[in-house]
Amino acid sequence: MLSNIALYGAIETGLIYGLVAFGIYLSFRVLDFPDLTVDGSFPLGAAVAAILIIDGWNPWLATGCAVMAGMAAGAVTALLNVKLKILNLLASILTMIALYSVNLRIMGRPNVALLTEETVLTPWYDLDLAFHQVPVLLFIIVVFVALILLWRFMKSETGLAMRATGANARMARAQGIATGAMIVLGVAVSNGLVGLAGALFAQSQGAADVTMGVGVIVIGLASLIGGEAVVTPSTVLRALIACVVGAIIYRLAIAFALNADFLGLQAQDLNLITAVLVTLAIVLPGVRTSIANRLTRSKA
C-alpha cells in the first residue's frame, strides 16, 4: 500500500492544487468565466519564482512576484474578453499559448533547477520534523491563510458585487456594478492564486519546467468538482473547503491508483486516470440522487 512518504507527498501536492482549485472556483463558479489561462499561469508562477530565487532574491519576495505575474496574465485574458469582446474561452486559450513563449523567455531555457537554492521551505527544515512533513505543514498554513482571505473577500461589498456579476450581470449593472472591472479583478486574482501554486510547486519539487502546466486546468477542475460532490457547496466557506478537500482526495486517489500493483498502472497513465476520475466526479452525484430516489420510492 501507500508508503508514508507517498502519502505526505500526495497531501503536499493536494494542498498546492487546492490553491489552483480556489482560482478555478473564482473563475468557473463565481464569475462563470471558463478560464484556461491557468495552464500558462501555473508555470509562469514557477518560472518567475525560480529565476528570481536563482538571482538571489528572498524566496518569499520571489513568490510574491510570481503571484503578481499570475495576476497580470489573468488580467490580460479578462481584458481580451471585456475590452476586445473575444469569447472568454478563446481569450484564455490565446493567453495560455502566449505564456508558453513568455515562460521560455523568462527562464531562458526549458527548465530551471532549484535543488541547491534557498526556498521558502529551507528555514522550516530546521524544525524537528521529518523532511516529507515540512512542506505539508507550510502549505497547510499557506492554504489556510488564502482560504480565510478569500472567504472574507467574498463576503465583502466588492466580493458580493463580483458574485452578482457572475450570477446575473444585467442585475449587477442595474445596481451600479462595473461588471467589466469585476471580471478583470476576479480573473486576475484567480490566476494570482494559480501563480502562487506554481511558485510553491517549483520550490517543493526543486525545479520549474515549461511543460509543468499541461493539464493543470483539468486537475483543478477535477478537484473542484470532486470536492463539490463530497462537501455540498451551499455557502462560500463550504465551497472553498470543498476545493481543498477535493484536491487532496484527488491526489490521494491518484497515489493509490499508481501504488496498487494489482491494477498494473504506471506513471504515464496519470492523465487517463484523471479523465476517469473527473468523469466519475461529474456522474456520481446524479447516480447518488437517482439511487436515493429509487430507495425512497420503494419504501413508499
Binding site: 465583502s156 461589498e157 466588492t158 458580493l160 450570477a167 444585467r170 449593472r173 442595474a174 456594478i177
Partner: protein, 264 residues
C-alpha cells in the same frame, strides 16, 4: 426630473433587418410624477426604457437626469440615479445569493463598494422593516437563498431593492406581466404604495390599457418610436380603454389591430 429629447436609435443599421426602434422620442417626467406608458408590440417601449437605463446607447438625442447629461453613460454609471425593476421576475435578483445579500447589493446601488463586510448589522433593521411591509414573512428568512422564493415574491423583493436607496427615477418594465393575476395585483398595489409613500418619480411600462389608466397620474402612448399622445389631469380622469383607442385612432388615423392592446 428626467428629460429625453429627440431620441433616435436604429438596430441593425445597414442590414436587411434594419429596425428603427426610436424615431425622435421626446418625454419629460417631472419630479414626483408617476407616468404609465402604453403601446403595441414594437412601439419602442422597452427600447425607450433600456435607453433611459443605459443598457442601449442612442444614436442621437439627449437624456438629462437631474440636470446631468447621461446620454453617453453606461448602465452602471447611471445606476445611482436610475432604479429599475425588470419584466422577468428572475432578472432583478440573484438566486444564488441570500435575501439579505441581495438587499445589501441594492443598498449600495450606485455607490462605491469597499472591502468591509457587505451584510452589515446596521442594515438589519431597515431590511426587516421593509420586508415586513410585504406581509410575506420574508423578514424571518433573511438568510434564505433567493432561489427558494416564488416569482411573485422575488418581484416584490426586486421592487423593495429598487426603492431601498433614493433615485431620480424608477423604471418599471411591465413588471407584473409575467405574474399570475392575483400576484400581479399584489405587486401592482405594492408598487403604487411604495411610489406614493416615498414620493418617487416613476415610469411604468404596461401592456394593459386598463392598468395604465388605473394607476399613476399621467399616461403616455408610444407608437413607432414616438409619443403619439400624452394625457394627464382632467383629460385623463374618467377615461376608459375605448376612449384611449378612440384617441389613438384620431391621432394616427389608423385602425388598432393589435388585440393585446384591447385585452386586459
Amino acid at each position: 426630473m428626467i428629460s429625453a429629447t429627440d431620441l433616435r436609435l436604429t438596430f441593425g443599421k445597414g442590414t436587411p433587418l434594419e429596425n428603427p426602434a426610436l424615431r425622435g422620442m421626446s418625454l419629460t417626467v417631472n419630479q414626483g410624477e408617476f407616468v404609465t406608458v402604453i403601446g403595441s408590440n414594437g412601439a419602442g417601449k422597452s427600447t425607450f426604457l433600456n435607453a433611459l437605463a443605459g443598457e442601449v446607447l442612442v444614436d442621437s438625442g439627449q437624456i438629462i437626469v437631474d440636470n446631468q447629461n447621461v446620454t453617453k453613460l453606461p448602465t452602471h454609471k447611471r445606476a445611482g440615479r436610475v432604479a429599475r425593476v425588470f419584466q422577468d421576475p428572475l432578472a432583478g435578483t440573484c438566486e444564488g445569493l441570500t435575501i439579505e445579500e441581495n438587499l445589501a447589493l441594492a443598498i449600495k446601488r450606485g455607490q462605491r463598494r469597499g472591502l468591509t463586510s457587505a451584510v452589515k448589522k446596521q442594515y438589519m433593521d431597515k431590511f426587516k422593516d421593509s420586508l415586513s411591509s410585504l406581509n410575506l414573512g420574508l423578514e424571518k428568512r433573511l438568510g434564505d437563498k433567493m432561489g427558494l422564493l416564488s416569482g411573485g415574491q422575488r418581484q416584490a423583493v426586486s421592487l423593495l431593492m429598487a426603492s431601498l436607496t433614493p433615485s431620480s427615477i424608477l423604471l418599471l418594465d411591465e413588471h407584473t406581466a409575467a405574474l399570475d393575476p392575483k400576484t400581479a395585483a399584489f405587486v401592482l398595489e405594492l408598487t403604487t404604495r411604495i411610489i406614493k409613500e416615498q414620493k418617487l418619480t416613476a415610469l411604468m411600462v404596461t401592456h394593459s390599457m386598463k392598468q395604465a389608466l388605473e394607476v399613476g397620474d399621467r399616461t403616455v402612448m408610444l407608437h413607432q418610436g414616438q409619443v403619439v399622445f400624452d394625457i394627464e389631469g382632467k383629460d385623463r380622469e374618467g377615461l376608459e380603454v375605448k376612449d384611449l383607442l378612440g384617441l389613438f385612432e384620431k391621432q394616427r388615423g389608423l385602425e388598432v389591430d393589435d388585440d393585446s392592446l384591447l385585452l386586459g
